[in-house]
């Protein structure tokens, strides 16, 4: 377990192979990327190579969801798989090599109604000619009684972080997708028993995960089942589980509840500024344009379907190339003003 990761910006790389871009003199960045996951960092690599003055507001966790994924097996170029945390570090190192600046600040508000665009973080305010929104998604919670009460005291959405606390204990994992099964397998390294609770009669996860989970003697399944309540005293003691076919309710004793039932896009701060679909995802055209010219979107925040590192990276690259094109067409602080609105801004 003793490894030493350097996930922070380390140092200026060798001058021969780096492109150092200073903080803009007028305080206005050419491009600000909101989000430091695979999509934001890929956009930063492309923008840096195009010599665009780029700032990445990476939020609290550079690498995004990638960082709390144990192992990534399907990112091309890593035939023996790669730790999510390590992949995140490699993305960041590559972006920094091309001069992107990173700030571990969380965006709290934006103003896309006039140029340059304004971005406010928990610490300060920034101005930018173009913006790429790559804020990603956060774990969805079940919304049942007890879940919030016991969050951090038995309820978790990060097996990588918290598995250790369940050595020799019993846990349940809620969900039936890749994350649920993969993290369920991670939990068996510590926990004695892992029960996977899934609402349908078959799992949604990729076959390879299903086979591994089914072959693991510590894992058992409760299908057609949902959690109605998280029970506990000071910490979690159990979950009330309902069979959706029979309606029968049982209490399952458990010390921990790991929730992997999908994601919610982080778009609260864009309401009234960008067009969102009914699920909260940002709408865009095939070139990653949002309804505000100069504001682009990439990654999971606009992707309800695939949610893969490689796809997020791909749309990040497109967004950066489109931003470069936009900056070429509107080198001054202008832009197509007449289009600076979104359909149904009240929505």
């Amino acid at each position: 377990m003793l490894d030493f990761k350097l996930s922070k910006p380390t140092a200026e790389p060798e001058p021969a192979e780096t492109f150092h871009i200073p903080e803009p003199a007028d305080g206005i960045y050419d491009l600000i990327i909101l989000g430091g996951g695979p999509s934001g960092m890929t956009a930063a690599i492309y923008a840096g190579r195009a010599a665009i003055k780029t700032l990445v507001l990476a939020g609290s966790m550079p690498g995004g969801q990638m960082s709390n994924t144990d192992t990534v097996e399907n990112f091309p170029g890593f035939p023996d798989s790669v730790k999510g945390a390590e992949l995140a570090m490699l993305f960041q190192r590559q972006a920094e090599r091309f001069g992107a600046r990173f700030a571990l600040e969380t965006v709290t508000a934006v103003d896309f109604s006039k140029r340059p665009f304004t971005i406010r973080t928990d610490m300060r305010e920034y101005k930018a000619r173009t913006v790429i929104v790559a804020t990603g998604a956060v774990p969805r919670l079940m919304g049942v009684p007890g879940e919030k009460t016991f969050f951090g005291r038995g309820v978790s959405t990060c097996a990588t972080c918290d598995a250790f606390f369940y050595r020799g204990k019993k846990v349940v994992v809620v969900g039936g997708g890749d994350s649920a099964l993969d993290e369920g397998i991670v939990l068996t390294r510590f926990a004695d028993q892992v029960t996977i609770i899934h609402r349908r009669d078959e799992l949604r996860a990729t076959k390879i995960y299903q086979e591994r989970a089914k072959a693991n003697p510590k894992i058992n399944f409760m299908l057609d089942s949902v959690v109605d309540e998280v029970l506990g005293d000071k910490t979690v003691t159990g979950v009330r589980v309902r069979n959706v076919k029979t309606g029968e309710t049982t209490v399952v004793d458990t010390d921990g509840v790991f929730v992997y039932i999908g994601m919610i896009p982080k778009t609260e701060m864009f309401k009234g500024q960008l067009e969102l679909d009914e699920w909260g995802y940002i709408s865009s055209d095939e070139n990653q344009n949002t309804c505000v010219p100069g504001v682009f979107v990439s990654g999971d925040v606009q992707d309800p379907y695939y949610r893969q590192v490689v796809v997020a990276a791909g749309t990040g690259a497109i967004a950066a190339m489109e931003a470069e094109k936009f900056l070429g067409e509107y080198p001054e602080l202008d832009g197509p003003e007449q289009l600076l609105y979104c359909p149904d801004p009240e929505k």
């Binding site: 377990m1 003793l2 490894d3 030493f4 990761k5 350097l6 996930s7 922070k8 380390t10 140092a11 200026e12 609290s60 966790m61 690498g63 960082s67 709390n68 945390a85 995140a88 571990l104 969380t106 709290t108 928990d122 610490m123 300060r124 969050f151 951090g152 005291r153 038995g154 309820v155 978790s156 990060c158 990588t160 972080c161 918290d162 250790f164 606390f165 000071k234 910490t235 979690v236 921990g256």
Partner: protein, 217 residues
């Protein structure tokens, strides 16, 4: 055998070029070295070698009791990071995994004697009249944790009233039980108030106020 391999050593050395003022890394271990005490001491000694401005000091928790008391060290392995003054910045347990970056980041901040907090936060911290003890529980595999650790350390640097500890939960299971740590990061403020997860600066400050007013009332 060295703790850091050559690649990491080279990267750390580059990073430490930013450190331009003296910083002491004071490590506490004991003769019969505890779990990870040996590794923590080796890590500190190896890192200190990589910058002319860093020095490692090694103390025995038992034999050098007076020194431990002076620095408020109550468990080992422990590292106190001391710059121009002792800001109250501590690491309990080995800073490995993600916490290695917290360790380096904190060394840099201590060398400057300056936090990167917002003006509003600095103003709020300047008002503090009572001691604030922040213990941030972490695991080395937690990507959210460094933010919470570095924030606590920055608050310690910014205010003489604040002490900031990283506590590696796996090495101090009795404290994990005491403070009911079942998820990380978990920040315990003055024993009474706690924060789950990596909270933004403003929320942490509000929790500090809560801890202080709770104590007063």
């Amino acid at each position: 055998m060295p703790i850091l391999d050559d690649d990491v050593r080279a990267e750390v050395e580059k990073f430490l070029e930013q450190v331009e003022k003296p910083v002491k890394l004071v490590v506490f271990t004991q003769e019969f070295e505890c779990d990870y005490c040996l590794e923590t001491r080796s890590l500190v000694e190896e890192v200190a070698e990589l910058s002319e401005h860093l020095t490692a000091e090694v103390y025995d928790f038992v034999a050098d009791e007076a020194k431990a008391e002076e620095l408020g060290i109550d468990k080992i392995p422990a590292i106190a990071i001391i710059g121009e003054q002792d800001y109250g910045v501590r690491f309990y347990g080995i800073p490995s995994g993600y916490e290695f970056s917290s360790f380096l980041h904190t060394i840099h901040l201590v060398s400057e004697g300056k936090s990167e907090l917002s003006d509003a936060a600095l103003a709020a911290l300047a008002e503090l009249t009572e001691p604030v003890h922040m213990q941030v529980f972490v695991t080395p595999t937690c990507p959210y944790c460094p933010q919470a650790v570095v924030l606590a350390h920055q608050m310690a640097i910014a205010s003489p009233m604040v002490r900031g500890d990283m506590v590696e939960a796996m090495e101090f299971p009795q404290l994990s039980v005491k403070y009911q740590v079942m998820g990380v990061p978990r920040t315990v403020i003055n024993e009474t108030v706690h924060i789950e997860g990596a909270a933004p600066e403003s929320m942490v400050l509000a929790k500090v106020q809560e801890a202080l007013t709770g104590a007063a009332g």
